[in-house]
């Protein structure tokens, strides 16, 4: 049987505010346990929440960026459940009147098509603390530093039909919130967490199947794996004539397996009701317009500009415009290096490979955009060969020197492009290889000749101590050997 896959996402976006949503405690990551958990965060009796204006501004900026209506009067509700990392016994969240109403995001797919994913709504809420189940003499340790950190929870319509679309949406959202500067986007620190709702229905059917929710995926790779895993699990059950149980599941990315966390029967009855401690929040036009004026260039606009301004193709422009920091790096490099295509190639090649290998972000790169730009200039004007350029890149990366020309001089990487000098070397090398020369000249197949040409390059590079311009060597060889 053929199945349609239906996917909806819920994404928790941690807002990059200085303080918590309802208290003046710092939200800085990595502090000693519970040093940023104060009376309000700990739900001490008699404390009252006071909402953080910046959290509302960020939520409004998000709403504007996803073409959504902003709710002028938003209300907080209590979602009641007991867990040790939730000191109040309820999470303060929004249910009936979320701040961001319906909107949409367009995603680019690998086949070149664009797909619209509708946003159902996005609401403001507080994060919980962290439970540590390591060995505390059979007890659980609780760190409440994260409790009260502002989140925007984005809820999509079930508009995605495979893992590729879901991941493309997730990446687009990541690119949006980091470009807006409302989230640091650091997934390893839990700044963005994804819940995936998946159901299957017979191909072409209008009736949605029973869905499951896989919670707390914190990387794009795990998300892709978890979707593949869950689709396969549901397909196996349905094809064996079974039924899908509506449940919440946990996915273990390291083992590629999932387990049920709770079924619908055990589902929490959250008994939502309006929070009596908080009055309705009113957002006026001035507030919205001020937020609008703070909107930076967004990824779609940046992509269009990269194509227009630098003549990049769709693929390069898409890759370089997604991440605001990578975009800035690229633009700094191009302003020095001029050649946009070559710069794009180096950023996606050598530069990205090194960042990935060392698990660094763009901002942690030991080389600056300006330095890469300087190197691009020297590649473009033939001062260094591509292998020489890699050596320069290496020295910049290791911090040996921060000056491209100084490295080229110090390591003798300057290419010899003086034709007279190169011709002399070619003559000498050819004189020492009479057999190969004869073989080449007796060969009629141009393909084989081309291949045989390579046999002369090794000795030539050796004769020039690696400094001969390979392109010129090639031209001279062809001329001397007679086509």
């Amino acid at each position: 049987m053929q199945w349609d896959i239906v996917i909806g996402l819920e994404i928790h976006v941690q807002l990059a505010t200085q303080t918590k949503i309802f208290s003046g405690s710092s939200t800085a990551y990595g502090a000693e346990p519970n040093t940023q958990a104060n009376a309000v965060d700990l739900a001490m009796p008699g404390t009252l929440p006071v909402p953080n204006e910046q959290a509302f501004r960020y939520a409004v900026m998000f709403g504007l960026a996803v073409n959504a209506e902003i709710e002028r009067r938003s209300v907080f509700e209590r979602k009641n459940y007991f867990y040790p990392d939730l000191p109040k016994g309820y999470q303060t969240t929004q249910l009936e009147r979320p701040i961001v109403g319906p909107g949409h995001v367009d995603i680019d797919l690998a086949n070149g098509e664009t797909k619209r994913v509708r946003i159902h709504h996005a609401h403001l809420e507080e994060d919980a603390g962290k439970s540590l189940h390591e060995d505390f003499h059979g007890m659980t340790g609780v760190d409440l530093n994260r409790a009260g950190t502002p989140l925007v929870e984005v809820v999509t319509e079930p508009d995605m039909n495979n893992a590729e679309e879901a991941v493309a949406f997730a990446k687009k959202l990541h690119s949006l919130v980091t470009s807006l500067g409302i989230c640091d986007g650091d997934m390893s620190q839990g700044s963005m967490r994804f819940d995936v709702n998946i159901s299957l229905k017979p191909k072409g059917s209008d009736t949605l199947g029973t869905r499951t929710e896989t919670k707390n995926l914190n990387s794009f790779r795990f998300m892709e794996q978890a979707i593949a895993h869950e689709v396969e699990r549901q397909m196996d059950i349905l094809e064996d004539g079974g039924v899908i149980v509506q449940e919440t599941r946990l996915y273990n990315g390291d083992r590629d397996e999932s387990r049920s966390m709770r079924s619908k029967e055990e589902a929490n009855d959250y008994r939502y009701f309006p929070c009596p401690d908080l009055l309705p929040v009113e957002i006026d036009d001035a507030f919205i317009e001020q937020a609008r004026s703070r909107l930076p260039e967004l990824p779609d606009a940046r992509k269009a500009r990269f194509k227009e301004q630098y003549g990049l193709n769709d693929y390069d422009a898409g890759l370089l415009s997604g991440d605001a920091k990578l975009s800035a790096f690229f633009e700094e490099a191009v302003s020095h290096g001029k050649d946009a295509k070559l710069t794009a190639n180096w950023i996606q090649g050598e530069f990205s490979a090194r960042l990935n290998a060392e698990e660094k972000t763009v901002t942690e790169s030991p080389i600056t955009g300006a330095q890469l730009g300087d190197l691009i200039v020297r590649i473009a004007d033939n001062t260094v060969s591509s292998s020489g350029a890699k050596k320069v890149f290496e020295s910049l990366w290791s911090g040996e020197s921060d000056n491209v020309d100084a490295i080229i001089d110090a390591q003798g990487l300057k290419q010899v492009s003086d034709t007279g000098e190169l011709e002399k070397m070619v003559d000498e090398v050819l004189a020492g290889m009479p057999d190969q020369v004869a073989q080449y000249q007796n060969e009629d197949d141009p393909k084989k000749r081309k291949k045989m040409l390579g046999g002369f390059m090794g000795p030539l590079m050796k004769a020039s101590k690696g400094q001969g311009n390979p392109k010129l060597f090639n031209e001279i060889l062809v001329k001397k050997l007679g086509g």
Binding site: S25, T35, E53, Y83, F136, M139, P280
Partner: protein, 95 residues
């Protein structure tokens, strides 16, 4: 309006309150009376009334995003039943 024993038992579980059989019978009566009272309110015609999020006719004041709290962990942990390495310790929970 009546409330069933099952409803009471469910609410007790959600609220993490232990109630024995005798108490359930008493609560059936008491909570039933409260619900009857609420039922009288339901008789009022509210079709033209906007649902009220808060009894006060006022708007929430917002706070600037500035750190105003300092670390007072020691004071808070002095009254906690168990702590270790700066963590609050609670009976083991795994969901």
């Amino acid at each position: 309006m009546t409330i069933s024993r099952e409803d009471i038992e469910k609410v007790a579980v959600l609220a993490r309150i232990r109630v024995d059989d005798e108490q359930v019978s008493a609560l059936e009566n008491d909570l039933g009376n409260i619900l009857d009272l609420v039922d009288q309110l339901s008789a009022a015609d509210t079709d033209a009334v906007e649902p009220l999020a808060h009894p006060l006719d006022a708007v929430q004041r917002l706070r600037p995003d500035e750190v105003t709290e300092t670390n007072q962990r020691e004071a808070f942990q002095a009254i906690a039943p168990a702590t270790e390495n700066g963590l609050y310790l609670v009976p083991r929970v795994i969901e």
